[in-house]
C-alpha cells in the first residue's frame, strides 16, 4: 500500500470523528438525570411510569382524537381507574409544576411541543 501510514491514520481519524457523538454520549448525563420533579408521592401516572415516559405524547394524541372526534371523554386505565380526558383539567392538576416537570425534560431532550399556545399552564393564567 502506498502512503500506508497516512492512509491508516486518516481512516482512524475518520472513524473517531464519525463515532464521536457516541463517545460524547458515554461521558454525558443519563436520561434519568433530567432533574424532573414528579408530583406528590404517586408511583404511577394514569398508566405505569415506563409507559408514560416513552409514550405520553402518543397517549395524548390518542386521547385528543377519542375525546374530540368520538366524544369518548373518559379513559378507563389498565388498573380500572377512571380518568376524565383533559390535558388542562386532568393532567395538569397533578403535574402542576410546569417548569420542573414538562419543561425540564422537554429542554433536556430538545423537543419543543406547542401545547401551551392554547392550553393554559397552571399558575401562569395564559
Amino acid at each position: 500500500m502506498y502512503n500506508a501510514k497516512a492512509v491508516v491514520a486518516g481512516i482512524i481519524i475518520f472513524v473517531v470523528l464519525c463515532t464521536s457523538p457516541f463517545w460524547a454520549g458515554r461521558t454525558g448525563q443519563d436520561y434519568k438525570k433530567t432533574g424532573i420533579v414528579p408530583p406528590g408521592d404517586e408511583k404511577n401516572c394514569v398508566e405505569n411510569v415506563t409507559f408514560m415516559r416513552a409514550q405520553h405524547m402518543r397517549l395524548l394524541n390518542e386521547w385528543r382524537d377519542e375525546a374530540l372526534r368520538k366524544e369518548n371523554r373518559t379513559y378507563i386505565a389498565a388498573d380500572g381507574k377512571k380518568w376524565i380526558i383533559s390535558l388542562q383539567n386532568t393532567c395538569l392538576k397533578c403535574h402542576s409544576n410546569y417548569k420542573d416537570f414538562c419543561q425540564k425534560c422537554h429542554v433536556a431532550n430538545s423537543v419543543d411541543p406547542y401545547c401551551w399556545t392554547c392550553h393554559i399552564i397552571p399558575g401562569e393564567n395564559k
Binding site: L59, R73, A77, H119, K126
Partner: protein
C-alpha cells in the same frame, strides 16, 4: 442449458412469492400497531347528555332587542375565552344581526314590522350536511355522531376554505394571537384559548354536554332557548317546534341547519 434456465425461473418465482408475502406482513404490522397505544379503554362520561341530533330552538318572541341577547353573548365569551376584537377581524361564536342579514332569502317585502326590525342571535348552525366539513383538507372540521360540527384546532392549518364554504359567516380566523385580547387570567381557566392562524367557531358546547351541562347560551337564556334531540319527538326542542312557527337560515342551500328560530 434449458434445464438451468428452468430451475432459475422456478427459484425466481418462488423468491418473488416469498418476498411479496413478507412485504404484506410488514405492511400489515404497523396498521395493527397504530390501532391504539393505550392499554386502557375509552368510554363516555356517566353524566354526559346524549342525543342522535342536537338542535337549538331560539324563541325570538321572548327577546325584546339586541340588549336582551347581550348576557348570552357574554356567557359564550366567558365560557370559551373568546376575545373582544373590534372590526373585520372579530371572533364570532354567538352574535346578533338584523333580519335582513340573517335571513336574506326571505322574499316577503311586507313582513310585519316586529319580525323585520328585530335583532336575531346567530351562531354555527351545526348543519346536517355541513359544507365546511366537506371542504376541510385536513379533517380539522368534522361532524360527530350526535350531529355537532366540531373542530380539532390541532389539525387546523388556517387555509380558511371552511370560511369560504360556510354560508352563515359562523367561522372566524385568528389573524392575531387571541391571548393578547383576553384579560389575565382568562375568563375560563378550564378551557383552552386558540392560537394565531386557526379558524374557530361555536361548538354547541360539546365539552359542557359531556359533563352533563346545557350549552352556556341556553343556560343564560333562562328558558328562552331550547336545546334537545331533534330525533326525539318528546324532547323540549321538538315540542317547541311542533307548537310554534319556526324558520331556519338559508334553508334553500340544502345544508339542513340545526338552529331554529320561533317567530
Amino acid at each position: 442449458m434449458n434445464n438451468s434456465r428452468r430451475s432459475f425461473l422456478k427459484a425466481a418465482g418462488l423468491s418473488v412469492c416469498a418476498l411479496s408475502g413478507g412485504i404484506a406482513d410488514v405492511a400489515g404490522f404497523p396498521a395493527a400497531a397504530r390501532a391504539g397505544i393505550a392499554p386502557g379503554r375509552y368510554g363516555k362520561g356517566e353524566n354526559a347528555l346524549r342525543a342522535k341530533r342536537w338542535a337549538m330552538v331560539i324563541d325570538t318572541r321572548k327577546f325584546c332587542g339586541p340588549q336582551d341577547y347581550e348576557p348570552l353573548v357574554e356567557a359564550c365569551r366567558a365560557a370559551h375565552n373568546v376575545p373582544h376584537i373590534k372590526g373585520p377581524q372579530e371572533i364570532k361564536w354567538f352574535w346578533t344581526d338584523s333580519y335582513e342579514h340573517g335571513f336574506p332569502d326571505d322574499m316577503n317585502e311586507h313582513l310585519n314590522k316586529n319580525v323585520r326590525e328585530s335583532a336575531y342571535p346567530l351562531l354555527c348552525n351545526h348543519c346536517g350536511s355541513p359544507p365546511c366539513a366537506r371542504v376541510c383538507p385536513t379533517q380539522a372540521t368534522y361532524q360527530m355522531e350526535d350531529g355537532i360540527v366540531a373542530m380539532d384546532y390541532h389539525r387546523c392549518i388556517g387555509c380558511r376554505f371552511c370560511m369560504a364554504a360556510c354560508p352563515y359567516g359562523a367561522r372566524s380566523f385568528n389573524f392575531k394571537d387571541p391571548r393578547k385580547f383576553l384579560p389575565d387570567p382568562v375568563p375560563n381557566p378550564a378551557f383552552p384559548t386558540r392560537m394565531i392562524g386557526v379558524v374557530e367557531k361555536c361548538t354547541f358546547c360539546a365539552e359542557r354536554l359531556a359533563a352533563g351541562q346545557m350549552p352556556a347560551c341556553v343556560e343564560a337564556s333562562q328558558g328562552r332557548i331550547l336545546f334537545g334531540d331533534l330525533e326525539d319527538p318528546d324532547s323540549t326542542a321538538r315540542q317547541a317546534l311542533a307548537a310554534g312557527y319556526s324558520i331556519r337560515r338559508k334553508p334553500s342551500l340544502g345544508t339542513r341547519p340545526g338552529v331554529y328560530y320561533l317567530i
